[in-house]
Amino acid sequence: MAADANAIIAGLGGVDNIIDIEPCITRLRTEVRDASKVDHAALRAAGAHGVMAAGNVVQVVVGPDADTIASDIDDLID
């Protein structure tokens, strides 16, 4: 099941917290303003297989639909 774009945005701390989202083949590489606003449990509940954070770079592992989910998120953000 594909992860839910709206729930991922919320889990990343909302639209205003997201600087950039780039899809790799299995994951979303995101840059956030405030990493403390990222809710790992919410991201997992949204369908993420895992979440890895290093500083302000948060990788959300969503499986091979990453590019579709990233474009859904871009549509919702813009």
Binding site: C24, I25, T26, H49, G63, P64
Partner: protein, 150 residues
């Protein structure tokens, strides 16, 4: 049962050896990884099916039975933005197991400071359904059976 072929020649090292937790912790599925021979070559389709996703550095082949296998060429190679990779097929193409999909040079990836390891992953496979045909540490030829997905 799906037979998954080695996309590249090299040594089987297992997913645990991959310096990326997405693969080493099996977040997208079980499988194995190959440390590729450091010579330019073609990367093969591990199963027959449709190319569901095709990036220069990674691709997913979906089989008739709905199972999908991911091949990832090197670690953090998305950052190369396609440089050093040449596509030999298109997204949406139907390919046979063993057919070339991408051409690359693992030696150049390694020379650039990145790991050229190739994870081969049975996407979202249930635990216990993947059986290695070749144990970690062994040499593998491109196109040789790598693991079975029950």
């Amino acid at each position: 049962m799906t037979t998954v072929l080695a996309p590249v020649a090299g040594y089987v090292v297992g997913l645990a050896a991959v310096p990326d937790p997405v693969f080493s912790e099996g977040l997208v599925g079980p499988g194995t990884a190959i440390d590729p021979a450091r010579e330019p070559g073609e990367v093969l389709a591990p199963i027959s099916g449709l190319i569901l996703k095709l990036h220069p550095h990674a691709y997913v082949i979906g089989g008739e039975d709905g199972r999908a296998v991911l091949v990832h060429l090197g670690i953090d190679t998305v950052l190369l933005k396609g440089e050093g990779f040449r596509l030999l097929a298109c997204e949406g193409d139907r390919v046979r197991a063993g057919q070339p999909v991408v051409a690359w040079d693992p030696g150049a990836i390694a020379a650039g400071g990145r790991s050229p390891l190739c994870p081969v992953v049975a996407l979202d496979a249930r635990p216990g359904t993947v059986r290695a045909t070749l144990a970690a540490g062994g040499a593998v030829r491109a196109g040789e059976e790598l693991f079975r997905w029950d």
